[in-house]
């Protein structure tokens, strides 16, 4: 089932029709189906963060349609957007973005608390996810008291707890060592399989990208290539490296 559809999205920064104008995205179109694990790759400045911000409805496209749930998200008002985010989208950030003032548990419950859930429902939901993601023991600790990997898992719990239609992950492994990074990727795969969560991950890490089922390569604000994972992870990995080297090579 199709979960979101992006039609000819463009994003322009700077004053219109002036020389300073800069197009970060140039009429991009694609679809995401339910349960997909998609990677978005590209060099710095290629527009991948802009795309993620638009998909996360933190930013608005200059032109184009972004349809989710039968609604054009681009036309929603600011408060409707906030509601849209809390209901449909879960975020995982590179620097975790947990609130230092709260325990991990409170951080994870925050989106539910903002939606006004009952305590009992919240705790039931929490227990299952936390157990699956393995941070049960550190729940009552504060973010600065636990490791980066645990913080990122807590952030993943927070993204997951509202049963969002889509999880957006912005370089989730960027701040983690390779072991924690691999753990997190396994976790995302687990979430993708177990919770049937649709995940869209922006990364420049080839290893992280090789966990995805499909990869969109972006260059200069346009979709340059698409890759699908085959049976062999090794082949997929090599294919990604190949595309990336072309991308990188042509940039210079």
């Amino acid at each position: 089932m199709q979960i979101l559809k992006v039609e000819n999205i463009s994003k322009t920064y700077g004053i219109k029709k002036s020389s300073k104008q800069y197009m970060a995205l140039k009429s991009i179109s694609f679809e995401v189906k339910e349960g997909e694990f998609i990677g978005v790759m590209g060099a710095s400045g290629s527009g991948k963060t802009t795309l993620l911000n638009i998909l996360g409805s933190i930013d608005k496209p200059t032109t184009g349609r972004y349809i989710m749930d039968g609604k054009d998200v681009a036309t929603l008002s600011k408060n409707q957007l906030a509601e849209h985010r809390i209901n449909n989208i879960g975020f995982i950030f590179q620097d975790y973005n947990l609130l230092e003032t709260m325990t991990l548990k409170e951080n994870i419950l925050l989106p539910l608390a903002l939606k006004g859930y009952k305590v009992k429902t919240m705790e039931e939901k929490l227990f299952n996810i936390v157990k699956d993601l393995g941070i049960l023991k550190v729940l009552d600790k504060y973010p600065y008291e636990v490791s980066g990997g645990e913080q990122q898992r807590a952030a993943a719990c927070r993204a997951l707890i509202t049963n969002p239609k889509m999880i957006l992950a912005d370089e989730p492994t960027g701040n983690l060592d390779s072991k924690s990074g691999k753990d997190l990727l396994d976790l995302l795969t687990f979430i993708n399989k177990q919770y049937k969560a649709t995940i869209l991950m922006v990364t420049h890490d080839v290893f992280a990208a090789s966990y995805c089922q499909k990869i969109l390569f972006i260059r200069d604000g346009e979709i340059y290539n698409e890759l699908y994972a085959g049976d062999s992870k090794k082949k997929f990995f090599d294919a990604i490296i190949e595309v990336m080297s072309v991308l990188g090579g042509e940039e210079k």
């Binding site: 809390i86 925050l110 539910l112 305590v119 919240m122 600065y144």
Partner: protein, 660 residues
């Protein structure tokens, strides 16, 4: 030279942070200068400082202000430095020594301080006429002279020296703060809690017990005990307040966090956790603000209540616009002439004989002392109709009375504490006064000096009893030697408290020529001088306290906002809409302002209770004078609350602006 440029650039860049700091700094300079200038002002010197009481009052007020200004400046400077931790650590990272950083900050402090000094003194000079006028207006009714606009060199000199000393001290204490910074803090940044405290239930209980004990002592009805307990009350309440904010409030927050049903509502979760995250760093500030608010509100409430009751109190004591007794034949004509000459409407005057009587009666004891006996004391005696006539002419609250034949009303003319009046009433009511062939029973007791005209004990009788006793010779207006007791004349006239010239002339006519005289105006003026000064100091002091405590809170919150900014950014990303954000901000900021204010006002209410027991219950002759006092205080509490509220909204605005 480079350091100076850097300092200037820092000020420019941190302008929005500096502006509030600058204003409160200027205001403290303004306060100190104005105060010093007032002390030097010729008119004020003439009006007040000849009396050593007033001089010491003004002096101690000056010292309190100075100490407080110093406390305020140092603590706001230190939190200002802390807020720039990142910037300072960066300097250190690039190899600036602590000494050099200290020098840089000192330069900045001096630049801002110097500007504030100029601004504050400038404002002080500009408003010098106004401040002197306000002081003289509210405390000296009789003052009619012209107040000059003045530049006081001595005050400028002292203010400048004083503040330069404070600034240097600030620089030193800032250096202390810097040397305590650890470079590694830069990398941990804001992630580390400023010291989360779970509080302690024991501290919570102890703090409440201490405050409660203080309240209990303050609420005592025995003035002697209240006076004795004044210092213990202060210690109990102040220690209790600090313990409450250090250990009690964190515990309360901790308990709130345990009540999941309430705590896990979105806005509560964010606001409460953020508040308790900062608890430790703000606890002392909040406690200080609670105590200072209590002092300030008590000061203005006391001043205001006294001030508003001066007129009433004057008439409670004097009774009439004017009266005198003895020497009527010499002065009465001159007095009438004076009214004519000053063109003041004499509404009515009335002359009565001062009758006395000494009936046989038991010797009465009150609290172990001989109170009333027939061989030592006499009664001033009035018939009911004369009494009612005099009451009608007086401006006191006394009411006309109706007395049955055979009964008498006893009035004592001195003011004592309320527990004494009960003993007197118990002793006197039911007493039989035995005259030659008549007995009068005392049925009720009043307390008023309106009819005393020199006597301590007053008796009012039914008209026919009075006539009969006069006939019998039991009541007489001549002494045993045949010397008459003289008459008393009371006056009621238009604008008695404003007619300065008439009152002054009456004073001259009557002085030394009559038995005794009282003019309401004189008493009024005298009270105004004392209480007006108290009131003025109260207003000035609470103004200073309020501005500084509120701006201290402002600093703390604005600096917290800088650190909390990224949290709100993150919250917006996970879908907090702007309405929720507004609610979160209110819930986050309101307690910081409201809790100290409410606690301070509660303290003040008990302080007013103590003040009522000591002072007002004698001044305001109502059954429960505390309610009257509270009503007057409530006016001042609201004024304080409103000004405080304005600061809250300014802070909220700035806080919101930083988050966006």
């Amino acid at each position: 030279m480079k350091l100076t440029t850097l300092a200037l650039r820092n000020i420019k860049r941190n302008f929005s942070k500096y502006i509030m700091y600058f204003f409160s700094l200027s205001f403290s300079v303004f306060t100190v200068y104005s105060f010093l200038a007032l002390m030097q002002n010729e008119q004020v010197v003439m009006a007040f400082t000849y009396d050593s009481r007033y001089r010491s009052m003004l002096m101690s007020f000056g010292i309190i202000i100075m100490v407080f200004v110093m406390f305020f400046l140092i603590s706001s400077n230190n939190s200002f430095i802390k807020a720039r931790k990142k910037e300072i650590s960066t300097y250190a990272l690039f190899g600036m020594t602590n000494g050099k950083i200290g020098k840089l900050l000192f330069l900045e402090t001096m630049m801002v301080g110097f500007a504030a000094l100029v601004m504050g003194i400038g404002a002080g000079i500009f408003f010098s006429k106004l401040t002197a006028m306000v002081l003289l207006e509210i405390s000296l009714v009789a003052f009619t002279g012209d107040i000059a606009f003045s530049i006081d060199l001595k005050a400028i000199y002292i203010t400048t020296i004083g503040f330069l000393a404070i600034f240097s001290f600030m620089g030193l204490s800032g250096l202390g703060v810097i040397s305590r910074f650890q470079l590694v803090d830069l990398f941990k940044g804001d992630k580390l809690s400023e010291g989360k405290s779970e509080g302690s239930i024991i501290l919570l209980i102890i703090s409440l017990l201490l405050i409660g004990a203080g309240y209990y002592l303050a609420a005592s009805n025995d003035p002697q005990r209240v006076v004795m307990a004044a210092i213990p009350i202060l210690v109990l309440v102040i220690v209790g307040t600090y313990l409450f904010f250090w250990g009690g409030l964190p515990k309360v927050l901790h308990l709130i966090r345990r009540n999941k049903n309430n705590y896990y509502k979105g806005t509560n979760l964010i606001a409460t956790s953020a508040f308790s995250h900062r608890m430790k760093s703000i606890a002392s500030v909040m406690a200080t603000i609670a105590v200072l608010s209590a002092v300030a509100t008590t000061a203005i409430a006391t001043g205001f209540t006294l001030y508003r009751n001066i007129e009433k109190n004057t008439y409670d004591i004097i009774g009439y616009d004017m009266y005198f007794y003895g020497g009527q034949e010499d002065v009465l004509e001159e007095v009438y002439d004076a009214f004519e000459r000053h063109n003041i409407d004499l509404i009515e005057s009335y002359t009565t004989d001062r009758y006395q009587t000494t009936p046989q009666m038991e010797t009465l004891m009150v609290e172990g002392h001989e109170y009333l006996s027939s061989h030592k004391d006499y009664f001033r005696v009035y018939s009911q109709s004369v009494y009612n006539k005099l009451i009608f002419l007086s401006r006191s609250d006394s009411e006309a009375i109706q007395i049955h034949p055979g009964e008498g009303v006893y009035i004592y003319s001195f003011y004592g504490p309320s527990n004494i009046s009960k003993s007197i009433e118990d002793a006197v009511v039911g007493q039989q006064l035995i005259f030659s062939n008549k007995e009068i029973k005392i049925t009720s007791v009043l307390n008023s000096s309106t009819l005393s005209f020199g006597a301590l004990h007053i008796l009012v009788l039914n008209d026919s009893d009075f006539a009969a006793l006069l006939q019998e010779g039991d009541i007489s207006n001549v002494g045993e030697s045949g010397e008459p007791y003289g008459q008393a004349t009371v006056f009621q006239y238009k604008n008695p408290l404003q007619a300065h010239d008439l009152n002054r002339e009456l004073d001259q006519i009557l002085r030394g020529r009559v038995g005794s005289y009282r003019i309401a105006y004189n008493h009024y003026i005298e009270s105004m001088e004392t209480f007006g000064l108290v009131c003025f100091i109260g207003f000035f002091m609470s103004g200073v306290f309020m501005l500084m405590t509120a701006s201290l809170l402002y600093f703390k919150q604005v600096m917290a906002a800088e650190e909390e900014r990224h949290q709100y950014k993150m919250l917006r990303k996970i879908g907090m809409d702007s309405a929720t954000e507004k609610r979160v901000i209110v819930k986050r900021l309101l307690p910081v302002f409201l809790i100290p204010l409410l606690l301070g006002i509660t303290h003040s209410m008990f302080a007013m209770k103590a003040a009522d027991t000591m002072v007002f219950s004698n001044m305001i002759p109502v059954d429960n004078s505390y309610f009257t006092v509270l009503a007057f205080s409530a006016v001042m509490y609201s004024v304080y609350g409103i000004v405080y509220g304005i600061f809250y909204f300014i802070t909220k605005g700035q806080y919101t602006r930083i988050l966006r």
